[in-house]
């Protein structure tokens, strides 16, 4: 059974005196357990709206969303779904509830009505998983943005979800904070097998995923591995999206007649390919 499944999902905001605003126009998407999916698309393409469908914050106006086989539209499934699918939002300041870090992490498990000893254990584990144990007695407002966002992630994983949705979690962070959060996300995915859906504007972040989904106008436009998707440099640029810098460099060099592969993602791969080209020419 897939972790998340969207079947022809449609969604529109209804207004009283105006035409409805159509946000999603028939999305079909399956996210397997343990995968790391990056969701791309420029503002207003419906990616955040789609993410909110996966934990029953929004219900589709057409089609259906299944989370581990549970239909989110059924009211009895709302909280079981939210327990399985955690969500981290963009602004870390607006998602921390308590004045003490460890009590904030405990908020979710407390809502689940778990016994105090188990909450304690989960909080300690979650803080260790995001490497924030040293700050457990601190007040959130004294932490850096990256640290706050890691606390928010700890608050989600303390609920022991199977999947975590992150809606531009690094958009408000400095480069160091971004790296901290990304490392945490990757570790959760690789070491604990957590399913990750990452919405982002940073192509370097998307390149870390094992699958990239590009949305446009409420529809899925591209869906494949980062290599397959980013190889289509012109198509992505036409959508107003960027490609990772190494991919962009190779594309630019190829235009000048230098034969380089189109699907390079990391600076290391790019450098190796360039060295190879230079040696070929010398030989």
């Amino acid at each position: 059974m897939p972790m998340l499944k969207a079947e022809d999902v449609r969604f529109q905001y209804e207004y009283e005196n105006e035409a409805p605003q159509i946000v999603l126009r028939g999305i079909n998407l399956t996210v397997e357990k343990g995968s790391f999916v990056a969701l791309l698309g420029h503002n207003g393409c419906g990616k955040s709206t789609l993410a909110k469908h996966f934990n029953a914050l929004l219900l589709p106006t057409g089609g259906r969303v299944l989370v581990e086989g549970m239909d989110t539209a059924a009211e009895a499934n709302t909280y079981p779904v939210r327990r399985l699918v955690g969500m981290v939002l963009q602004n870390p300041d607006n998602q921390l509830v308590s004045t003490i870090v460890e009590e904030d992490v405990a908020f979710g498990p407390e809502n689940l009505g778990l016994p105090p000893a188990e909450i304690r254990q989960r909080v300690d584990e979650a803080l260790a998983a995001v490497d924030m144990t040293a700050y457990k007695d601190h007040s959130p407002h004294k932490l850096s943005g990256g640290q706050k966002q890691r606390v928010a992630i700890a608050g989600v994983i303390a609920m022991h979800p199977d999947c975590i949705l992150l809606d531009e979690p690094t958009a408000m962070l400095d480069p160091k904070g971004r790296q901290e959060v990304l490392d945490t996300i990757c570790r959760l995915n690789r070491e604990q097998g957590m399913t990750v859906v990452l919405i982002t504007h940073y192509m370097e972040e998307a390149a870390l995923a094992d699958r990239v989904v590009v949305m446009e106008g409420g529809m899925v436009l591209e869906d494949g591995t980062p290599r397959q998707v980013f190889a289509q440099v012109d198509k992505l640029r036409a959508l107003g999206l960027d490609v990772p810098q190494p991919t962009a460099l190779c594309a630019a060099l190829r235009q000048h007649g230098i034969d380089l592969p189109a699907d390079l993602l990391t600076p290391e791969e790019c450098a190796a390919a360039l060295v190879q080209r230079i040696q070929d020419r010398k030989a």
Partner: protein, 273 residues
Amino acid sequence: MLSDITIGQYFPGNSLLHRLDPRMKLTLTLLFIVVVFLPQNWFGLLAVVAFLGGILALSHLPVKLLWRSIKPVLFLVAFTSVLNMLYVSGEGEPLLAFWVIKIYPEGIATAVFISIRIVCLIAGSSLLTYTTTPTALTDAMEYLLSPLKVVKVNAHELAMMMTIALRFIPTLMEETDKIMSAQKARGADLESGGLMQRVRALIPILIPLFVSSFRRAYELAMAMECRCYQGGEGRTRMKRLQTARRDWVALAVYVAVVVALIGLNILFGSSLK
């Protein structure tokens, strides 16, 4: 910086007073107010001062800290003292007679008595906020107010609101700072002009602050929903408040003090006019 402002007045420590159960501390503080108002004569008042001194010694707080909490009420103390001196009349000759003003020794005595009472009251109750974290206080309030369920007062929601308010005070302070800088950068003048002009200058700061607060509230509500928040029903707590023997001993001491003060009142009668 505005954001340097401390929330509450908590003074970290590990004294007996710090370790008492916050619920018991809250109860004892209420009891202390009774204690302060019980004495009717100087012996009783002396006993209260000695008792307060004892608690203060147990709290290991610097006396300077108490001065900080008394300072704002000094005006009130002075005001009531003057009123008492003017209005309380004695039997003997007035100490001072000038126009309609007549000051009797009894008036001065009453003024001193009431002043000591007010100072004790403020000092005693501020010990609560000095030795208890806002979070612990909120938890205690939630617990002590929970019987009000019967009259449809939701103690959990009240406590939740207070927690969120405490959590967002520094965030909003920081935001105010930012908005002020932004408006100053656009030429807003916040520091000069008369009162009305200054009040008017606050509008371009308050409006963005309100708008962003509502946006924050909306997002926080969404984040709370994501974390399965469904109100107090079926919710458990990680940290359970636990009363220890010291809490009950403290309560016993307070009750003993109350009984002793009533005894002193009966023994020496009232010296108040």
